[in-house]
Structure formats: C-alpha cells, structure tokens
Symmetry: C2
Subunit: 428 residues, 2 copies
C-alpha cells in the first residue's frame, strides 16, 4: 500500500497570477508605455489595463488558503491572495508544502489562451506583448526553478505563420506545451476545420509541443440562463470540454497531422468512457453518409492516442481507467482556484485511488506528464528528494493554514456571486 | 441466461411523424383554415406550413429501414419513409416486428416541446392547435392501442396557468407525461429559476405527470462551428442534456416541489456517474458561498430520485448501473431516427447487457417505465403475449428488410449533410 509521502506529484494544470512587474524586463522599450499595467481602483481592486480595456480581476479565482465561505471571484487585489499566486519563490514553497514536485501554469488575466492580447488592433504591439509574456513565463517564472515547472506559453491567435514561428522560437528554450483555445471559432478565428491553422499544427508536431486546451479558453462557459445559480456553471465546466474534444477529434487536424497531441485541461476523466462509446457509435451508425474515415481504427482508439486528460480527484475516472487508457491520464492540482485540493493533494488523491496499483498511480501522478510534456525533473534533482514526504520536509514550517482574507468588500454583500459570472466570462 | 425472445420492451423515447390529416377531427371549425397544413413543394418535399412559417422537414430524420448510406435529414416526403412513422397501425406492426411492446412518442414538426405552436402571436389559435394536437395524440394515436403507447402531449409554453390547465385536462384522459424543453430561457421564456412556472410544476405533481425533457428541445444543439462536420453534433447530442440536468437540479424547482420528476430523454446514461460526482464535489467545495442547501442529502441522491434516464445501448451505463441507480434507468428505441436499434433492439440490447441479472434487465426494459409513467399494458394484455418472441410471432411476415429509399434528390449531391444541420436546428 503506497503512502502519501511516497507519491511524486506533477500537476498538469495550475494557474499563475501575473505580477505587476512582469513586462518590465521583456517588453521592447518603444512599447514600455503601452504594455499592460496594474492599477488600483477606488474600490480597492487591482485591475490590469491594456489598450483601453480594463480586466476586472487580476486573480480570477485565486482562493487557495481561504475558508470555503470566502470562495468566489475575490480576491480582486494582490494583498487578498497568497503570495504563491504571483511570486514564484513563494509558489515553490506552496508546492513543496503540499508535496508537489512539478506544475504547469496557465495564465490568468489575458485569458487561458491569451485571447486578450491577440484581439487588439495593433498587431505589432500584440506580438511584442505576447513575446514579452512568454519570455517572462519561460525564462523568469519557470526558469527560476526548471525542475519544478513545465513551461506553457501563449499562442499567437491571429496569424498561423506567426503562431508557428513563436512555437519554434520557444521550442529552442525547451518548451513542449502551448496553451490554446477550445474553440477558435467562438473567438472569431477560423475553426479547427480549416486549413488555416496548418502551419501552427506543423510547428507543434515538428517541435514535439502539446496543444494544451484549457476549459473556458473559448470564452464560452456553460451558462444556461442569466439567472442560473453559479453552481450550474461550476458543475458543467469540466464536461463542457467534451465539445472541444468532439470538435477536434472529428476535424481534419488529427487526420492530417497524425503526431499532433492535445491536452484537455481541467476536464476531468469520468465522462470519457461514455464519450468514446458515443464516438464509436456515431462512427458505426453514420460514417456511411457523413464520410468520416479513420482507416482501420476506431475513433476511440484515435482519441486515446491524441488526447491527454486529467483530474484532481475523480473516483469514476479511477474506476474506469482501463476504458480511458492509463497512459493518457494525468493528475492536476488547479492551484490556486477553488477546485484545488491544495494543501493536501496527496491525501485527497489517495482517498480516491481505489484499487490502483503503484505502477498505475505513478503513471497518473507523474510518469505520463513527464512523457507527454518531455519534462524531466530528475535530470536536475534526485527522485528521492522529489517525493511528497521529502518536499514537505524541505519547507517544514511554511504556513499553509486556512485563514480568512475577508475584507468585507464582497462576501458579506453577496456581491461575490454576482461578479463571479461576469468576471469568469470576461476573463476566461 | 435470458434470451431476446423473453424480453419485454417498453421504449420511453420514439417519435411520430405527424400525418397531414391529424388536425381535421380536432381543430375547432373557426380555425380549420388556419391549422397547420402539409404542402408539397416543387422539389418534391412535403413541408408543414403554419401562420406563414414553412417547416422544412416533415420527418426530421425518419430513416428507419434505410441503408446507412441513405441516412441524413431525408426523408423530406411522406413517400420516402416507412408508413410506421405516421400511420399508427403500421407503427404498431413495426413495433411488434421488433418485439417492442410499448412506446412513448415525441413530436416532429412542432419541435420536441411544441415550441412552434407556442411561438405564434395569436394565442387563441396557439391554444386551439395545441389542444387539437394533444387530443389527436392522446385519443387517436395512443388511443388506438392503449396497451402500446404512453401518451406524451405538448405543453403550453407562454402561460404557466394555461400550461397547468392543459396538464390537468389531459390527466383526466390518463396522461402521465408531458414533453417540455431543456431550457425555457433559450426559447425566450423565464428560466427554471423563476417562480413563473410554479403553477405548471404543481399541476404535474398533483396529476403524477413526468416532465419529459428531450435533448434538442431548447432549439440549441451543440454546434461548435458552422463548418464543423455533422459528426460533432451527433456525438455531443446526448451529453449536452447534462446542461439541462444541472440547470434543473440546482434550481428552486426540485426544492419547492419535492415530488416533481423529470425524464432526460435520449440523453444516454454513461456520463451520469461522473456528473453526480461533479454535483457532489461542487456542493462540497462551494455551498458555503453559493448558499445551496439540500438538507441532509447529497445532490447526487436528489438527482437519482428526480430524474429518469435512458439509453438505446450503452455499455458504460450498464457497467455503472449501480452508480446511476437501477431504478431510474429506462430503455429507448428512438424509432425512426438514425440512432435507432430497430428492427433488432432486443439483440442489440442483450449484446451490451453484460452481467446484468434478469431482475435488472426487467427494470430497465419495462418495469421502470411502467412505474415512472404509470403505464400498465398488462391491465389490457397478458404478460405472456407481450414478450419480444410473442409480439414478433403476431406479425410474422411483416417486412422489416432494409431497403433503399434513395430518389437521388440529396444523397448523391451531398446535400443531405448540408441540410441536416439546418433542418435539425429549425425543427428540434
């Protein structure tokens, strides 16, 4: 029986909150004044401003370390969140204190696929900001602890040739993931069904880069009705990514680029066996008139090869791991968002591990992530010093206690729920 | 080991194609000229016309009996489909030839929740047409074979008091289901979160009427992009109903009307264990700030009591039947649509029955449907004469061979796929 101390944890989905000074060392001098800036509002919120847009929430949902009564879209100011959200040295302490060896971080204020930057009119500025962001992300944030972070930079969305060039530029720095959108069509770009994106796919294949598609990255969350309780949206978020999975699986991308790989980030796994069954039934019943052709393979087999999936704690996914495919399931922490299992991820994971063998647990906790993302922390640090027990020992005394951050600005007024939906829509 | 001949099959989801003369005996004389009419177009399509609207497809997807190469949204004319689609006597023969005892039928041209009728400006006419439709459906179609059909009339959508009155009127005829929409908000009506609908819910509870919510009844199918292959939409259809399930589960309806029951029609079942896990996790992580309260129960328990689910052939659902709850799973045939297992449903069901016991199979094939919908065919006919084997014997010689209906109007031009999406959107 494996103990929590023995686990080695690499999370394929966390978030960083961009610190105010992130662009200073990376934006070209001529754009220094036009780079995104943090401003504190009269209400006490910290907001990013960029080309006339105001992004209402620096942290999106950075609630790790708070009591659940204080969840919501606050914190909306840096001093209302754990420093581990925006300070990489504090982040690594928070990771170690939870026993987490490695982490891949998605953005916050530019949207999960950086759509804010790509959308502005001045494309020279857009490219400068994206490259500055990526240099900061890869060189400063991840570069400070190369054994602890899987780099995951932003794409260029408006030009597939520039997108390809940026992938190739970053690959030289050792990058093997790029965050992308669930659905470019919903952002106003050509869909997965157009040849448009081919230079980008080709660059990802050539450079062994996984296209990491985070739920909500299309800007479209599952909001059933304007007056629906926020619980509806929270419940549906992971399952909604099945739309992207179907869109990509049936698209020409998989057929034209047989080595392309996608990650369905924060999507959970328990729905996947039914989804694959549905893929195969659709193929069986309808291919004769729709013209789909996967040669001698079933769409479920194709799915299993091309898509990485992940969960925080998913008993149904664990029970169905053989249907899903044990080699494509990863674990995620989702720090600092409200679904996170921080600071006790190892314990929460083992609580749902059921009858998994150590070999299976090792695949899900770190081996699959290392292989899919070409990430090898053991080239830098020993395996023995990388376990939950060893890492926790390194930072003994680091404060991970749950404490109140309530300043009475939202929670008590109930405004937290109100702005949750607005900000989630605006920022995702 | 149970054989296919021994099964007793009651399907909770099939469709009728409305015959041209359906309103003749039921519409008040003053509206005879304004009732919906079937017109044959120059192209050879039969279309319904009503108050200036032209409904492009009488059958939606009535392809039962065709080779798969001819699937699509054709047939678009009555003479291109099996008479069992629109002639109740032929329908019963088609049912018997497949061994199916009972069937609940959803509409075709008015939309699955009859939204076409409710949407017109003249509400007196709308009510007259809905009541005529329902009288035809209950008295003529189902009434011709009360041992074979579970009545499933249309709701009144624009007025909850009229909706309640219509439920009560029909309940006097023995009706225990009403078709309704996944999402009234997407049709322009108040959402599930408003008190607006309370008179309707109260009537359904008082009269022991299940609210049967068919996928696509919101008029919103999962179309990821305009240029997405139709396979994407087909794959996603069943999973999309999880949006309705979450919307209703977290709404005030369940809390205010503890005896209300919903059916998630054509939604499959394999996704439900993950969905319930997600409900419970959302409750655990977020109730402290969202304010949800189910007393001493978990949302998954509440879901299991209030929602009937169904499948055509779902190996994952069968494997997870204990998670889902064996008492709320039903079987469906989906005749005459392209997902149907007609004319060999018993064989296809047993092929996925896995290790289910006879008692479990009996629940899924007929006992649950009988209990949920207060339907008792055995009050009219013996159980022995209701099995697959007995029914098939009754209509020995009835032609169920797969044959071509191709008239070269769509299939060869590829237009079938093109109009599939348009018509599905317009009609669902």
């Amino acid at each position: 029986m494996i103990t929590s101390d023995e686990l080695i944890l690499i999370s394929v989905d966390d978030h960083l909150v961009e610190p105010p000074d992130m662009f200073d060392a990376h934006i070209p001098a001529k754009y220094a004044d036009r780079a995104p800036k943090v401003v504190r509002t009269e209400n006490g919120d910290d907001v990013w401003t960029f080309e006339g847009a105001v992004i209402p929430n620096v942290g999106l949902n950075a609630v790790a370390g708070r009591p659940k009564e204080e969840y919501g879209v606050e914190p909306t100011a840096f001093d209302e969140m754990r420093p581990g959200c925006y300070d990489v040295h504090e982040r690594v302490k928070d990771m170690s204190a939870a026993g987490v060896l490695g982490s891949m971080n998605f953005p916050s204020f530019p949207g999960f696929s950086g759509r804010l930057f790509s959308a502005i009119a001045d494309k020279d500025l857009a490219l400068a900001v994206i490259q500055a962001y990526n240099d900061w992300h890869v060189d400063e944030w991840c570069g400070a602890y190369p054994d602890r972070f899987i780099p995951n930079p932003l794409p260029v969305l408006w030009d597939p040739h520039l997108a390809a060039a940026e992938v190739r530029r970053l690959a030289k720095k050792g990058v093997h993931s790029v965050t992308f959108t669930e659905n470019p069509a919903s952002l106003g770009y050509p869909s997965y069904h157009q040849e448009h994106w081919d230079p980008f796919w080709k660059a990802c294949v050539d450079e062994d880069v996984v296209v990491s598609v985070h739920l909500g990255s299309s800007g479209q969350l599952a909001v059933t009705a304007p007056d629906a309780p926020v619980d509806v949206m929270i419940t549906l978020q992971p399952m909604n990514i099945c739309q992207a999975a179907a869109d990509i699986l049936w698209s020409r991308v998989i057929k034209q680029f047989p080595d392309i790989r996608f990650a369905l980030t924060e999507g959970g796994t328990g729905w996947i066996p039914y989804f694959m069954e549905r893929l195969d039934r659709t193929y069986d019943m309808h291919r004769a008139w729709t013209g789909q052709d996967f040669g001698d393979r079933l769409p479920s087999e194709v799915f299993r090869e091309h898509f990485l999936t992940c969960f925080i704690a998913d008993p149904v996914g664990v029970a169905l791991r053989d249907h899903i495919g044990i080699d494509s399931i990863c674990w995620e922490l989702d720090y600092p968002h409200s679904d996170t299992s921080w600071p006790t991820p190892a314990e929460q994971l083992l609580a749902v591990a059921g009858d998994m063998t150590k070999a299976e647990i090792d695949k899900i906790t770190h081996e699959n992530a290392m292989r899919w993302y070409s990430f090898d922390p053991f080239a830098i640090r020993s395996r023995d010093s990388s376990t939950v027990g060893a890492l926790r020992g390194e930072v003994a005394g680091h404060d991970v206690s749950i404490r109140s951050y309530d300043k009475g600005r939202y929670q008590r007024s109930g405004k937290g729920i109100e702005i949750a939906k607005v900000a989630a829509k605006a920022t995702a």
